[in-house]
Each structure stands twice: as structure tokens, then as C-alpha cells.
Point group: C5
Chain length 360, copies 5
């Protein structure tokens, strides 16, 4: 049956995500986090290794060039450039800027997550207000939930590339069971006049369906009817907020300042950390000869700051397909399944009330 | 027909804004942000290039003057002034002050955005409560929505220069279809007695229209009537908050402290970074001779801090016409269009309820 | 007529406040803020100039004394004291402490502003619930609004000195039309037994008036009656919160730590920045000889930190009469005017419903 | 009469608290805060003077010992220890840790304050729903308010030592009029089975009283009955939150880290700031000879950081009896008085409605 | 009787938690925190001592090796490595990164705590709406509360290891009295088709039970019925949020950056703080010879930063079994007990209404 088809396409909830909190549930003297260092999915190694490799190659190439290719005069100039970088690179307040920026990005990221709408609340309002078990009542309940899920998918399709990929045209909505043929025609008819987001349309339909149900006394009272409308409206507000987050980004100037700071800092550092042979630079070079072999602190800094910058990049748009991004496609399936289960399936799966074990 | 006229004047949603989140949806090793460096609209280059050019000219003029124009004695004095600046300029905690200030400004900026009222919630309440399809009911629904949109435009006109430009007089409101002639007269009559903001007036009208509709039984029940009033009131609260943000700014002292700090810092730096020829200043000048050619770190710092300051300036009043400001005029059109569509058009565009594909 | 009298005493909304956001609506390469530097009202110059002048006099007096009055031995001691200050003054983390403190103060300041109650919400609830146009209904509506405004003024009188000045006794309330004679007597009767804040009393009266109106069927239904009570209660909560902010300040220890830090820092700096003649102090004094003429960086620092401290001082109690403080007396007038206009005047100023221009 | 007895035991609102905002209502060039320096109650002097005195004695004892008691060899060792401390003490990021910690503590502190329940909201709901003036209605109103106040006191007794002191046993509740004899017996009966917090019990009683009143038609309608229950529930949520704050503290590890950092820092500083006589330590000791006389900067630092730490200590549990703590016992009295006044007394103190002065 | 059995298994509320706020209720000159230093449970000593011991052994081993095992040439190399570390280790901004990270973690931690659902609100709604004392009404009340508690346990079992341990299978739910046999079968039947979280299922059952009760007139009115559904829905939202927190962690990259920074820093420090014998390293080693005996500052730093890191580790998943974690199993028992007490037991324990002592 068709419901099985839906079940077959579902994605399990705790599988595809970079979830590690259960691994650190019990702290053991700050050792617990060590286990996280050996993760690959979503890890800092995965995102930084290529850049680091290129950066290392650049460093050693410059180092080789300085020591073996350049003649004495060229070396002099190179050394002065290095000293120049060494002196002024510290004027770039990289950690400060990055700290503030990542803080803002994380706030937005979590704000976006909390604004993702879940249809469960609407489901509760539907079973509260539309009570009958006849086909008409079932149809009303399922239609409202379908519209709510449709609005969710339409919202996600506008801001999430993986979702856009899954639902490139309205036909894909029909195929996935979110949209009926005659509804598609209405949406397409409207799309001729305006290409604005129409995520609110299915929700307005849902309200109208509810209003009609109230008129036909499928919904018995005004209070729960109003409650249903409020829940649908809350859903709409969340969809709208998600799109607003997508619309109004962090000012691009801020992002550019951070990016330029980061790249420039490491461009200078590749010179500043070169070991210079001339005796006049001895002061301030203690131990720097190890940099010829392996400038570990430089690479570690690179590792840190690019890892940190990458946190920002991943979180700026959390609806993409990064390891750390929200599983939009999973959520779509989950929402539809739970919606139908809540308003339709469990009416046939209600347990009998019986006395609990503590009944005296 | 007239609705087409409205559609003709609309501005597409995702076009005029500095929107870049879709470009960084999937992070690729912190490389993604690099693509953002080549944007012009709303970019740091666009806002800083002129200032930077002037600043560079100043630097090189001073440098030329010192090296080729001044005599030995004047050079001595110039050198001492430079050393004086070099020594004490670090006492200005520029990044610290700017960091705190930008943080506060961004909080306000996002706060303002979330407080922009959207009429969609009122629209839902209207279709919930005013149900008939006859002309009287349509009129009630459209009038309430028009009043709500009118309140929005009146609010925006008070705090947004581009909106003020578009609607300089009440006649422009009438022309755009937000206001009727007889309503204009009432507002003008009131304006003779007081020049206070009257954004709440159309909303009070809307409530009165709803109250009359309730009395005439166009609204059937008290619950949804009350719900409608609450939504209108929520709209009013948001309009009021937007005006409050405009009224109560960040204390001007704070803004002045930051601005003075920034300007003074770079006034001193243009001296502090000069390369001095006298042998007594060798210590602390390593590599500084490159500053004669191109003082890249100075210009980079200038770039950073003025970019950062510009973020603040753009966000202090987000209802202006900067690249990063909110598209107020677009919102006005969008709101009116969606309002009418929601409460009127879709009543003729309701799909028939039908069984979905998962119906067993 | 009396309403004109009210209109005559009104204070225009956007006039008396330090409002500058419209001036920086469109950023022009970080130049926009420059215009703000030439403001006097509420400016940093206005608040700091006197202190700075005194501080400058102190500096030059000490300088003069050292160079021309003290004998060699006294100079030696003075120099050692200066070096002592110079060495240890940096241990005072002034910018750090001030940054944290101002951050907290600004949070509270904005929190207080958002908690100022506006009677508009109650007004909407009143026109929703009390509908008639007869004198009894008008009286009910006006009385409720008057009580709400009275509660506001009573609250403000407790925490705002300018408001206290305007309304020193209950008679001034009567005179301004907030209180009737018989109500004054009740309040005075209660004041004999307790001198606690009684801001909740008019609001309780308002609820009782509404309850009586409900009983006499001036309010037709329970839902809107309950809505009215909730709005009045929300108003009461905000009054209470405003008083709580006034009651529970930032711990005085924190304020004292910041103030002492600031004063001590500049007491030491006036010594630390003196130019010392003895040759042994040459190192670390590069360019310091300019300090004899004009120690610009010291004064700039003074300017910054005292400006910053002044931001805190202004915002700690925003209900005073500083340039940046909230215009409490204006709000009182505005609230009363809008209240009466909303629940009474506009009933005679309702426009006829008519078809809008987009009606097809 | 008994009400007078209550009035006799009341504590005036603005008397016992460290309230200073009115003193700084109008800023006068950052001079305003100076007045706060001369406060004793709740001041930094009061909390730090003893510790500072002991610390000063320790410093001078060590100084005396070094200069006059130790022989040359011992002096050498002492000097090396001092230099050791001097060198590494800066590795303790004290201001950073303290800044973050105090920030968190202040957030919690204000969070707790905003969660203190005020019975005024319930009072409004009670006069909204239970309207009669007969004895039965009065009894219902008074009983509900008494239960609400009882819940407040039971909550406070669990988390506030001064309140626990005032109400050590249930008999004290009875004596103060919060509890009746038969209610005490029920609570004691339950306490035999469980010693969990029972603050929710009086609130459940209140709901049951309301439910019975609804059944007996003392409450006329469902809407205001439901509103009353919601207010009582909101009160319960706040009580619960207050207890949760008491239950879940800031992790003790964090507090320990901060405390150890602070104590260790000053243990080292007492050595690091000693003036060493050996000529080899001249560099880095400029002006340090004044430390023998009075190491003012050390004591100032001590003053700052212990003042700051004390802010944290005071705010970690704001229900104690510090000068800056919330006046729990005052609140208890105030709440009971206002509760009874609101639901009972003012029914006989309602003014007649009359036309206001602006009535035209 | 069975209720006693429940009481027997309860865990007292204030016993197992690291609760210390009552110990610092009254500050005594920053001395109060000292008492906290002697706590073991949940203390910094408990979590760090083992790591510190290992770290100390490593330091002294290296020190011994350097001084007594290595030959002159090897010593030279070792010394250069030490100087290398000494020079660059400061480039790791450890306190800055840790500060930001711990701040974010603490925000999440408290956010999670405030989202833990408490059934008390539902209980109030149940006694408001389902009023009878007959067995049917009692059964409805108890069943709704049981379902609510069941949802809580199912949620906790998904994110809390100690809870998972206590309830490994559905049979354990049945045994503990949360689930009946026939309900278990339904859940197991559903689990065959999907292994998604089903925490919403019992809550949907609860709503259905309430809906049936409304139909059978066990709930008299729509308003309180709707209130009950809203409370159940609020409970569901909180369960969902708790699971979302568990699902969407802080990006693992961030955690890895912090962990690597911390470990690398101390790996370098163990070398950097070695006392080097060669005379060329005298500068910058003042007092460092004490490091051979006991490098107290190194160990103190280790103590701090690992303590701080451990705060983060403990709080990242607060549903584990750390000393500072939330007492999930206690909460489960408490919730069930209070639920039954609230909706069933106290109906037989209602005190008679009587006049209070202040009744005049």
C-alpha cells in the first residue's frame, strides 16, 4: 500500500547527522572530548586538510627559494620583507574579529533552527477540533495537514539547495504527494502573475478548509476552531521568519572584513615565520630555526583560524548540504509521516482506558 | 484592470537585496567565502575606496614632504612628532570599542527587522472571522486589510527616507490606493490639531469596522472577533516599536566616542607609520622602509576599521537606501498585494478537497 | 473647549530628543557619522568639557611646578613618583571593566524602555468591548482610559524626577485632569495607612469599572471583557517592572569599582605622562617632550573614558532630565491625548466604507 | 482590628534596599557617580576593608622580614622567589575569567528577579471572575489570594535563609495568617509521606476553590474562570523557576576556578610587588621603591578584583541577607497586604464614575 | 498499597545534586566562596586530579631526562626545542577561545534546563477541566497525566544515558507503571514500521482522551478543554525542543578546535617551562630555576584551563551522569508522584474554606 511506500523512502533520524552529545554525556576529567578528535565526518580535518596542504607547500617553497635559489642581494630584500611582515602582522586583530563574528553567526544559526516549523502543533489542534471518524472528517484532517506540509516544503525549497534539488518543479511536489493536480494548476496560474514566494497560499487554503468545516459543523465549537487557526498562523510566521533569515543576511561588509583579515594574516605569516640567516635578525628568532624543518605553530594557527572561519561558513547558511547542516529532506519526510499518523492512523490505534498500577 | 496595474508596479523579492547566503550554502574548506570577496554591491570596496584613496594621498604627501621638502631642522621636528604618535597611538583601544559598539548596533538592527509588521497574520484572522462571499463581506475584508497596510505605510513614512520620498503627501497615499478621499480629509482635519504620529488611527478604524461587522453579524462569533482585534493590536505594537527604535537611538555620546576614536587613530597612524631616516630611530623600525613604497599594513588596517565602522553606520538606520538596508518600498507593495490576494482573490481560487495519494 | 486646552499643552514628539538616526539613514563611506561630531545637544563635548578643562589645568600646573618651582631634590622625588605611576598604571584594566559595565547598563536601559507601558493596547481593547455611543458608554470608556493613564503617571512620579517635579502632590494630578476630587480623597485615605506605591489601585478600579459594565451589559460578551482585563493587567505588569528596575539597581559595588578605577587611572596618568628631564628616563619617553606643550593623547584618553563613563551615568537612570533620557512628560501628555482620541473622538470621525481603487 | 495589625508589621518599600538610581538621575559630566563613592551600605568598602587590612598586614610583614630579619643568603632566596612570582603571575588571566564569570552571574541574578512571582496578576483575575460582594464571594476571593501568598512564602522559605528564619515551622505560617489550622494538618499529613517541596499544593487548592466557585456559579463564565486558572498556573511556573534556579547552580567547578584564580593571583602578587634591593633587579623595578612605603597599585588591584568577586558572591544567591539581596520578607508582607486590598478592601473604596475635566 | 510503593522508590530532591547556593547566601567579604573550595563532589579537584598527576609526571620526567640523561649535544637540541616552544606558544589564544566556547555551552545548558517539561501545568489544566469525583473522571484524569509522564520518560530515554539504563525496554516502562500492556503492544506494532521517536504518541492519546471526555461531557466547556489541549501541546513542544538540542549539537569543528588548542598548548608548555642551564638563555628565565623544583604556575594554569574545559564537557550533555548533570531519574519519579497527587489525591485532601485571621 501507499503508506508503505512512504515508509520505504524515509531517512532515519539519528543517522546522517554529526551527533556527538551522547558520546560526551559523562565527562571523565576532560578526557571525553579527546574521543571527538578521532571523528572524520564534519571534522576540522575534513574541512581544512586541503587548504593546509596547499599552505604548507607554499611555505616550504618560499623557504627553499630563499635558502637555495636567491642570490645574496635578493636574500637581503626577501629578509627585509619578512621582517616587515613580522613586525606589523600583529596589528591584525584576527582572533578578536573572528570571535565576534562567529558569535553572531552562531546566534543566527540557532535562531534559524528554533524557527523551523514543526507541524505537530497543528496536528494537535486538528485532532482537537475536527473530531469525526467518517471519511469527510478524515479528508478534512488530512487535507489541512497536507497543506501545512506543503507550505513547509515550499518554504524549504526557497532557501535550501538540497530541497530545491529534490523538488525542482511543481510536478515533483505532485509526485511526492504534497500537491494535487488541480492545486498545481492554481499555483501555476498565480505564478504567471507574480513570482513571489507563495508559501502562505496552502496555509490560507488550510484556514479556508477549516472555516468551511466549522460552517458544516465538522468543527463543533468556535474556541477550538480559533485555536486551529492560531496554530496554522504560528506555522506561517515561522515559515516567514525562515525566509527572512534567508533574505536578510549578515551585512556582506562584515563577512568580507573577516575573510580578508584571515587571508591577509596568513599571507603575511608565511613570510613572517621564515627563518632568516643574517646575524642581525638573531634577536626575536630564538628557536625559529625549527621553522625550516616544520613550522608547527604556524600550521596550528592556520588550523585553528581556518577551522573557526569554517564554523562560520557552515553556519551562515544551515540549510545547505554540509555535514553540520540541518537535514531538511529528512525533516520533510518526517513531518509528512507524523502528520498523517497523528491525525488519521492513531484514531484506529487508541488504547482502551484502564486503571494504572498505582490505582488504589 | 486595476489589479494588473498593481502587479505592474511590483518589485521582485530577491532581486535588489545584498543576498548571498545561497552562495555559501555548502562550505568547501573555508573557500566559499572567497567568492564573496568579488562582490561589488554592498561590498567593503564600494564603501571604503574613496576614503582609502584620500588617506593614501595624505600619507604619500606627508612622506614626500618629509623626505624632499623639509630641511634638516624641520625633519627633526617632524620625526619627533612621528615618534610621539608612534608611542602613544596604541593607547586608543580602537578594536575593543568598535567591537562592543558594532555588537550593540547589530542587536538593534536585527531587533528592528523582527519588529517590522507583516499583515499576513491579520489576513488570516480576517478570513477566519469575516466569512461571507457577498460584496459587503468582501468590502469589510478589503477595508480592514487596506487600513492595516495604510498603518504600515504611515509608520514607514515616518522613519524611512526612501518611503518618505515615495509618499511625500497624503495625496500620494490616495493615488497609491492606500487612502480614500474622505479618509484623507479626516486625517488632514486631525493634523490641524496635532502633528503627532497617527499610525494607530487606521488600525483603530479597522477595529471599529470589525466591531460593526460583529454587530451586523458579518462576524459570527466573539472568539474570532477577539482574535482579529488581537492581531490588529499586535500589528499596532510592532508599528509602535519600529517608531520607538527610530525615536530612541543609541546615545549620541557613544557614537561620537567611536567616531572620534576611529578618526583620531588614523590621523596619528599616518604619522606613526612614516619611515624615519635618522639612525637613532632604527630600533622599532625593522622593515619600516617598505612603508615609503607602500604601507600595506596601514592601508589594510584602514580598510578593516572603516569597513567595520561602515557596518555600524549602515545598520544604525536600516530603513535608509543603503545596499544593505531593508527594502521598505518593496515590502509595502508586497504587503498590499498579499493582503488583497489572501482575503479576496483566493476565495475564487480554492481547490476542491480530494483524497491524497497516500489515502488507503 | 477643554480638549483644545489639552492640545495646547502638548509637546511635539520628535523635537526635544537627541534623535539622529534620520541623519545617518544612508551611509556614505563612513563619512555619515562625521556629521554627528558637530552636534552639541547630548554630545560628548557638552558632558566632558568642564571635567577636561579642570584636568588640563591640573596637568599643566603639575608640569609647571616640576619644571620651575621644585628644586633638584624635590624634582628627583617627583620624577620617581612619575615613574612609579608610569610603570603600574597599566595594571588597571580600565577599558575591560568599562566595556563590561557599559554593556550591562545599556541592556538595562533598553530593557526599561521596552517596559514603558503604552495605553494604546488597552484603548483597542476598550473600543472592542465597550461599544455604545451613548453617554454612559462614553463615560465608561473615558474612565477606564483615565485610570490607565493615572496609573502611568503614578508610576512615573515614583521613578522620574522631572515627573515628580511636575506632579509633586495629588492636587496636581487633579488639576491636570488625571484624578477627580473624590478619587483623590480615597487615595489620601489609603495613604494614611500605608506609603507603599499604589500604582495598581487605578488599574484595579478600571477592572472593577469594566466588571460593572459587563454586568450592566455595556460589554456584551465574556471574551472581549476578558481581553480587556488582560490588557489592563499587561499594563500593570509593565508599571510594576518599571518600578522594579528602579528598585533593584546594578549592585552599587560594581558602580563603585568602575568609578574608582576611572578616577584613579587618570590621577596616575596625570603624573605618568609628565615629561621628565633627567637623562636616565630617556628610554620610554620618545616624543614625550611634546607632552609639555600639549599631551594630546592623555586628553583624548580622558575624553574617551569619561565620555564612556558618562554614557553609563546617563543610562543608569533613563527617567531623569539628561539630554538622552526618555521624555517622560511628553509621554504622559501623548498617552492621555491618544487615549481620549482613540476611545472617544474617532467614533465621530469614522470614514464611510467604500470600494478601494483595486476593486475589480 | 486585625488589618491594622498587619499594617503595623509592614516594612516600607524603599527603605532597606541599596537604591541609588534616583541619585544619578541627571548626569553632570560623569561627576554624578562620585557621590556614590561616599556610600557605606552595600559599598565596596564595607565588603573589602577587612580583607584588605589583612592583606596589607601580610605585605608589610613580608617586606619587614625581607629587609630586617633575613640574612644575606635568605634574602637571595627570597628575591628569587619574588622574581619567579613577578615573571609568571601575568599568566593568570584574572580579569578575563572574572569578567566572563560576573557576566554569567549577573544574567542569572536578573533572571531570578524577573521570575519572582507577584500575586497582583492573580488578584486582577480574581476580581474579574469572582464578582459578588456577599460573604461567600469575599471568602472565595480572600482564600484564593491567601493560597497564592502561601505558595509564595513556601517557595521563599525553601531558597531564602532570612525567610527560613522567619518561618522555621508550619506554626509560624499559621501565626502569620498564611495558613489555617486544618490546612496545616493536611500539609503535615503529606509531609510524613514525602519531604518534597509542596509549593504547588496551595495553588492546586486555589484552582479547586475556583472550580467549586464556578460550579456554584460564583464565577459566571468559563472564559474568566479559565483566565484565573491560567494566572494561578503562571504563578506556579514562576515559583517552580525560582526553585530551579536554587537547585541548578552555576557549576561549582566554574566558581572554584574563579576563586582559586583570584586567591592565587594575590598570593603571588604580595611577593611580586616587593621592592628588591639587589642591583641585578634594577630593570623592571623603576619606581618600585615606593612599594616599601605604600604599594598603592597592589592594594587598588586587590580592591578591584575582590570587589568584583564580591559582586559575584552577593549575586549568586540573591535571596540571602546581603545589602544587595532582594528584600524577601518585605515582599511577603507587601504581597499579602496588596492581595487583600485588591480583592476585598477596594470594593468598598470604589469611586463614583464622573465626567473628567476634558469632557466636552 | 501501591502508592506507598511509589513513595518508597522516590529520590529526595535536594540530596544528589551539587547544590551550593545556600552556602553562599550571605556574602562575607568574598570569603564565602572560600568554603566552596573544600567541596569534593563535582569539584575541580575531582575532575582534574588524575590528568594533573599524569602531567606532573611528564614534566618531571622531561626535566630529569634533560638534566641527567642527555649528553651535551642532545641537551643543546632539547634547549632549542624548549626555546622554540617558549617563543611561539603564546600565539595560541587559549583563554579567548575557551571563554567564547564555554559561554556558548553555558547558554545551551541553561536553555536545555528551561526546556525540560514539567507536568504541573497539565495537571492544573486537568483539574480545571475534568471535575467529577466518580471513577470515570478519576480514570480520565489519571490517564492523561500518565500519558504526559510517559511522553516525558520516552523523551528522556532518547537523550539521557542514565534514563536509557533504567528503561532499556518497553517492559521496563510497563513495570514502572508508565505503560499498560495493551499500550505497549500498540507502540511495538508501530515500531515495526518506523524507529523514529514516538514521544508525541502518548500526548496525542492524551488529547484524544480529552476529546472523548469532552464529547461525553466529563469536560463541561470548550474553553477549559482547549486550555488543556494547549497545555499538552506546550508539553510536546518542550519534549521536541529537548530532542532537538540533543540532535543539533554545537558544530563538532568548534569543539575540536577548542580541544586541540588546549592539548597542544599544554604539550608545548611542558617544554617551554623547563629551566635551561645554558647561560645564553638567562634573559627571560628570571626565577625559572624554581620550575625544576615545582613549576607551580604551570600546574595552576593546567588546573584552570582543564577545569574550564571540563565545565564545557560536563555541560555539553547535561543529561548524563556527571555530578553537575540534571537528575533525570529523580525528575521522572517526582513528576509521576506530583501528577497523581495533583489530579487525584488532593481531591480528598481539600481543606474547608474558613475565614482567615485578618477577616474583619
Amino acid at each position: 500500500c501507499k503508506r508503505n511506500k512512504l515508509a520505504a523512502t524515509r531517512i532515519p533520524l539519528f543517522q546522517m547527522t554529526v551527533e556527538y552529545s551522547s558520546k560526551v554525556a559523562t565527562a571523565t576529567g576532560a578526557i571525553g572530548f579527546v574521543r571527538l578528535l578521532f571523528r572524520w565526518t564534519g571534522s576540522i580535518y575534513k574541512v581544512v586538510w586541503l587548504s593546509l596542504l596547499l599552505y604548507m607547500m607554499l611555505f616550504f617553497f618560499l623557504s627553499y627559494m630563499y635558502h637555495y635559489i636567491l642570490d645574496r642581494g635578493q636574500q637581503r630584500i626577501f629578509e627585509r620583507i619578512c621582517v616587515f611582515c613580522r613586525r606589523y602582522v600583529s596589528t591584525i586583530p584576527l582572533s578578536f574579529i573572528l570571535g565576534f563574528y562567529v558569535d553572531i553567526v552562531m546566534d543566527r544559526w540557532w535562531g534559524q533552527f528554533t524557527k523551523i516549523p514543526w507541524p505537530d502543533g497543528v496536528g494537535f489542534a486538528v485532532i482537537t477540533s475536527v473530531k469525526g471518524t467518517n471519511d469527510k472528517s478524515r479528508l478534512i484532517r488530512r487535507t489541512i495537514m497536507r497543506y501545512v506540509n506543503l507550505a513547509f516544503v515550499m518554504t524549504m525549497q526557497l532557501c535550501s539547495p538540497p530541497c530545491k534539488e529534490r523538488f525542482p518543479t511543481w510536478d515533483h511536489f505532485v509526485e511526492a504527494g504534497f500537491l494535487l493536480e488541480q492545486e498545481k494548476e492554481i499555483i501555476e496560474h498565480l505564478s504567471e502573475h507574480t513570482d513571489e514566494p507563495k508559501y502562505w497560499l496552502p496555509l490560507a487554503w488550510a484556514v479556508n478548509v477549516a472555516a468551511k468545516a466549522r460552517k458544516e459543523d465538522k468543527i463543533y465549537d468556535d474556541v477550538s476552531f480559533c485555536y486551529l487557526v492560531k496554530e496554522v498562523n504560528a506555522f506561517r510566521t515561522k515559515c516567514q521568519t525562515i525566509l527572512c533569515y534567508d533574505w536578510i543576511c549578515i551585512p556582506i561588509v562584515y563577512t568580507q572584513v573577516v575573510t580578508i583579515a584571515c587571508y591577509l594574516y596568513f599571507t603575511c605569516m608565511v613570510l613572517a615565520r621564515q627563518f632568516l640567516e643574517s646575524s642581525e635578525f638573531v634577536v626575536g628568532q630564538e628557536g625559529a630555526e625549527f621553522n625550516v624543518i616544520v613550522p608547527i605553530f604556524l600550521f596550528v594557527e592556520f588550523f585553528f583560524y581556518f577551522g573557526w572561519l569554517n564554523v562560520a561558513e557552515t553556519l551562515v547558511n544551515p540549510f545547505g548540504s554540509d555535514d553540520d547542516d540541518f537535514e531538511v529532506n529528512y525533516l520533510i519526510d518526517r513531518h509528512l509521516k507524523v502528520s498523517y499518523a497523528m491525525v488519521d492512523d492513531i484514531t484506529s490505534l487508541m488504547p482502551e482506558m484502564a486503571q494504572d498500577v498505582y490505582w488504589n
